[in-house]
């Protein structure tokens, strides 16, 4: 077993544990956005797809690089955009929505005041 492999395995196991710890606390309300967020994160495979370019010097290599880059880019861009779109909908109060989008800090403060009142 090489040192690199041992390091990789260590990182893998620790990341698994971190993942379990972090996800375990997410409320059911956010499970769909969470799955979508996790979905965009596995788009990191784009890095792997790009790295194919380093050594791809023949037709087979180019084809594989192209398809992998296409797939991974669709995954990353689509994943993040749709997660953002979903999370934008989660609001505390329906009414001040447009203001909230324009001035997040002020709106958040207003929200807090409102929730104190109610």
């Amino acid at each position: 077993m090489s040192t690199a492999l041992v390091t990789d395995l260590t990182i893998f196991i620790l990341a698994l544990l971190v993942g379990i710890e972090v996800i375990g606390k997410v409320p059911a309300t956010l499970h769909t956005p969470l799955m979508s967020a996790a979905n965009s994160i596995h788009g990191i495979v784009l890095v792997g797809a790009l790295l194919i370019g380093l050594t791809a010097h023949d037709t087979v290599g180019y084809i594989l690089a192209f398809v992998a880059a296409f797939f991974a880019a669709a995954n990353v861009v689509g994943g993040y955009v749709v997660t953002g779109r979903m999370l934008k909908m989660f609001r505390r109060k329906a009414a001040p929505a447009p203001v909230q989008a324009a001035k997040p800090a002020e709106a958040a403060a207003a929200e807090q005041r409102e929730s104190v009142r109610s």
């Binding site: 993942g19 993040y80 749709v82």
Partner: protein, 470 residues
Amino acid sequence: MTTFTNSIQLVYVLAAACFVIGLHLMNSPATARRGNQVSTAGMVIAVIATLVLLIHDGTVTAVGWTVLIVGVLLGSAVGLWSARTVQMTAMPQLVSMFNAVGGGAAALVAIYSYIHDESAAGGVLGSTTVFTVLDVLIGSVTFTGSLIAAGKLQGIITGSPVMIKGGRLINLALIAVALGSAAFMLTTASLPALLLVVLASLAFGVLMVLPIGGADMPVVISLLNAFTGTAVAMAGFVINNWALIVAGALVGASGGILTKLMADAMNRSLPNIMLGGFGTGDTAVAAVAASDAQIRSIAADDAAIQLAYASKVIIVPGYGLAAAQAQHGVAELAKVLEDHGVEVSYAIHPVAGRMPGHMNVLLAEANVPYPQLKEMDEINPEFPRADVALVIGANDVTNPAARRPGTAISGMPILDVDQAQSIIVVKRSMGHGYAGIDNELYANPKTSMYFADAKKAVAEMTAAVKTLVG
């Protein structure tokens, strides 16, 4: 390792940290958006670092650059378009499609790496082969499995379980072929053997998902999400890249946990789901039928009177509401009631909708403030204090039969709708839910049935309430 590659590696670690922090911020709706932004930032710096590495290395050919750039641009365009145009009810299909392409890309990375190493001087390392095979296997199964799952949810492929004669035998044969080729590859580097693994896995993915019923698709998608993450982590092992390993492991863990939560909420074990769906004949259904019981039906005006003069109303939305696109109508009805001084909250069962937490997204889309959405454990004690429980398009999750042993849904956690003072159920017919059994709630003397499409019923009730209170 040079200083340059070390710095790139450090940027990857930074990106991985962004992913962890991003996921951590998903703990609350208030910080979730920032979480997504942090995670996006991590992705951007990881990609930029990779581009810097490619430019610095200088071995990428002109054709190589063209291929990568065109591929990324086309992929981004497709991703952007689908993310912008997708209906919120169709979210599970989209997630499934992203699983497919993610898993496919992970498999391709390992396949390319194998082809390249095989022709290179050093040959393929034995330890790398293990991860290559795992990546290709999981990635390919995810690719076809996710496509089938998306097809089932979209209605392109029938949602009912497709049983193929001798399917189990074919599956076993495919597994044997894949594992046999993999074992052979450990001793001898062989590209044909790898392709055999790919083909067997692709076929296995199809056969794995086809026999699973549409109702179980959410669990399958969650599982395939975990698979994709694992495949990406394996790709990270193959090309020795930390960013892929950490991100893949995070997704693998999260997908695994979500799958378990989901299966628990449906009171099913994972093997049970994977080996065949509800109503396929092997479930013993106790025949405590409500068929001879009195079913009371109700019209919009009477329902409106009950709602308008209540002091507390709990709305119980189910997939029927989403299917009828009635979430906006319900939000309007709730607003009219609230303006009239009625306390309104929503009882959300963990599996309401077609994905864990899907109903929350649908209601959020209709501008329902999230503090009104109550999870099962929080809302159940409140039902006895509710004057009216308005059930819209939810079925099995309200069936009191789940509290008794011996039924298809026994032990499934349910919403205690029957504890409310009175119950109005909006439903198109007396048809069964996914579990295929009668809902005893409908025979309850406190229950009135409002037979109509959810959207139409909600509009009628809203109009009737308005005339009453206006």
